[in-house]
């Protein structure tokens, strides 16, 4: 199936600002799905609220544009009811980790088979540039005019600690890696978390003087490095990209099937 068969063409051009990384996430995601040859009727995309969550409107799957922070809770309802469906849950950083933080860690803990994509642009874009739990100490935002005093989460470490059985990080610059990591995440049986660092030149970039969209892309290239690279040893401030966790743990829907069997035996 061609890429365009996976999108709802009538809604293009999309709403994202010029230079926003989210369209690249859509691109990477669709490439991975195309490569896997998944049937559109078997895919359910559940998103929350925010710039990132608008992605659900553009894909020709079953799409549930849910509540801010609650995408994973809705997705768990769908998945527990129909375990054979492929669940994709794109979320923003504020969406997934501030208002949705509780749902996020518990979805990791349950290891339920779905793919959570955290489109991390370090800002609340839809509401106009407030700081998020991933903005980081010392950044500027409309609600942090004197710079933030909030430290950020490390999504990868948190997801791993909470029990996600697949955890990866990539960026909107590394679109080839993104597609392959997403493919691996979707194929993985268990709860997969993929953090995609995605630039927001309109709000985060402008407030924090990170230059143009191109400059922000370059920054993703220069400030990140593959896991365990020599560059990382030489420069510990680099952010690692790649697959951090991949392990076989009991998957929630499979385990629930065993509960049913135990209950039926009486």
């Amino acid at each position: 199936m061609a890429m365009k068969d996976y999108v709802r063409e009538r809604f293009f051009p999309h709403i994202w600002c010029p230079g926003c990384g989210h369209g690249i996430v859509l691109n990477g995601l669709l490439r991975s799905i195309e490569k896997m040859g998944l049937n559109k009727n078997d895919i359910v995309m559940v998103s929350g609220i925010g710039c990132s969550s608008r992605i659900a409107g553009y894909v020709d799957f079953h799409t549930l544009h849910a509540l801010h922070g609650r995408a994973l809770a809705f997705a768990i309802g769908v998945k527990m009811s129909r375990p054979e469906l492929t669940l994709l849950v794109p979320m923003g950083d504020g969406d997934a980790l501030a208002i949705g933080g509780n749902h996020f860690i518990h979805a990791c803990r349950r290891n339920i088979d779905m793919t959570a994509i955290v489109m991390n642009n370090r800002v609340y874009g839809m509401t106009g540039g407030q700081y998020s739990p991933l903005s980081g100490f010392g950044t500027l935002a409309t609600t942090a005019p004197y710079s933030t005093i909030d430290s950020e989460f490390d999504v990868v470490q948190m997801a791993a600690a909470a029990g996600a059985s697949f955890v990866a990080r990539t960026t909107s610059y590394h679109v080839q890696q993104m597609a392959s990591v997403l493919e691996e995440a979707i194929l993985h049986k268990g709860f997969s978390v993929v953090e995609v660092m995605s630039p927001c030149p309109t709000y985060f970039g402008r407030k924090n003087k990170e230059g143009s969209a191109v400059d922000m892309m370059e920054r993703l290239k220069n400030k990140t490095t593959p896991i365990g690279s020599k560059a990382k040893q030489e420069n510990p401030s680099l952010i690692e990209r790649g697959v951090f966790v991949k392990k076989e743990n009991p998957e929630y829907c499979t385990e629930y099937q065993k509960v049913i069997e135990r209950a039926m035996k009486g």
């Binding site: 659900a56 799409t63 549930l64 509540l67 309802g77 527990m80 749902h103 039926m264």
Partner: protein, 382 residues
């Protein structure tokens, strides 16, 4: 009826009824005094291949049942005051996206953590207006385990018929009191199943285009029709729209689909109403004390009756007006500061004849409490 006889709590009666109605997905979070519902679901649902899941909070619980409902399941969650407050966000989503689901609120004393183990009927107006924005809602209640059973089945039937969340407003006394329940045999009580679209694959399906009778056939997630569901105002395909006409029509539809069927949704009972000069109006476990008081006064020759409401929302204003026609005095018996009283007064001419007999201290209102109010109104002193 010729089914199995059980001796059950209200919470158990509710579970029996939900299973009878075909509910096969429950998500919940422990909270007194509703917890037995979740506990029983955890036992019973997997036995029939259904899904029980304990979520991380009540917000997640209602979201999970909405997700499951979209795949075609009959779904339910149960909670009490604080949890019901958390569920208001999801409830509004289910209203807006027109997702059938049943939400049980076993009322306890509030506000806030309030009286976790004590009875109250303080959430009547929260059931109506707890979630933000204009909308209509269905809320049902009952005063006996047999009626808990029947209104719970009604709740599932209404939720499917009108594609709406339905709230069951029970209370702590009812939830934990044990009495006889006769579970009807399968097929004895009519059930409304999910109305699914007959539109074949490849033909444009409109999830939000009502049929002539106002009903909206659904298509299960995972099926052949891929569409969008959102809490935003949306067009007939489910895609966001801010077009004033689309917005206006959707809001009117959400309200009208319920308000225009208020008569079909109306459930009530009446005792000695015909010649009643004094009419009590009550519901839930308060109605048991009200009935006791009425029978007692009848034996003394007083013309007194009871109208027991089972449908609280949409409020049966016409019914109340009709039944109160002859009444010199109307006394609303409830365990709150006058939430149904307010609706009754708004429904009647001469609202000054409507009085409140209430109790808000966490204990069940007694027939004596009601008698004392009666004597005051009748000028006899307490």
């Amino acid at each position: 009826m010729s089914g199995i006889v059980k001796f059950v709590q209200g919470n158990e009666a509710c579970v029996e009824a939900a299973l009878y109605a075909g509910m096969d997905f429950f998500a919940g979070y422990p909270i007194t005094p509703s917890t037995e519902i979740a506990e029983l679901m955890a036992v019973r649902l997997p036995q029939k291949g259904g899904v029980f899941i304990q979520m991380e909070d009540e917000i997640a619980s209602i979201c999970a049942i909405i997700g499951a409902s979209l795949t075609g399941r009959k779904v339910m969650t149960a909670t009490s005051g604080p949890g019901f407050s958390l569920m208001q966000e999801g409830l509004g989503y289910a209203v807006m996206a027109e997702i059938p689901c049943v939400v049980v609120n076993v009322q306890r004393g509030g506000p806030s953590t309030g009286l976790p183990t004590k009875v109250s009927q303080g959430d009547v107006n929260q059931a109506r207006w707890g979630t933000h924005g204009d909308h209509a809602i269905i809320a049902l209640t009952a005063s006996s385990q047999q009626d808990v059973f029947s209104v719970t089945v009604d709740a599932f039937n209404f939720s499917e018929t009108y594609r709406t969340p339905v709230i069951l407003l029970f209370d702590e006394v009812l939830a934990h009191m044990r009495e006889r329940l006769e579970v009807p045999e399968a097929g004895e009580v009519p059930l409304v199943d999910r109305l699914r679209t007959s539109v074949p694959e490849g033909v444009d399906y409109h999830p939000y285009l009502p049929r002539e009778d106002g009903r909206l056939p659904m298509s299960d997630f995972g099926g052949v029709h891929r569409y969008n569901v959102t809490g935003l105002f949306h067009d007939m395909w489910g895609f966001p729209s801010e077009d004033p006409q689309v917005v206006h029509e959707l809001l009117r539809h959400l309200v009208d689909k319920i308000e225009n069927h208020a008569n079909e949704i109306m459930r009530y009972k009446e005792y000695y109403v015909e010649d009643a000069e004094t009419l009590l109006i009550s519901y839930g476990s308060s109605a048991r004390s009200a009935l006791h008081a009425v029978v007692d006064r009848r034996q003394r020759g007083e013309r007194i009756g009871l109208l027991e409401l089972q449908t609280l929302w949409p409020f049966p204003a016409m019914l109340v007006r009709e039944k109160c026609k002859r009444a010199q005095y109307v006394i609303v018996v409830e365990m709150n500061m006058g939430q149904v009283l307010q609706s009754v007064r708004m429904s009647l001419e001469r609202p000054e004849r409507v009085f409140l007999a209430n109790r808000v201290d966490g204990t069940l209102i007694t027939p004596l409490d009601i008698r004392n109010v009666l004597r005051l109104i009748q000028g006899k002193g307490v």
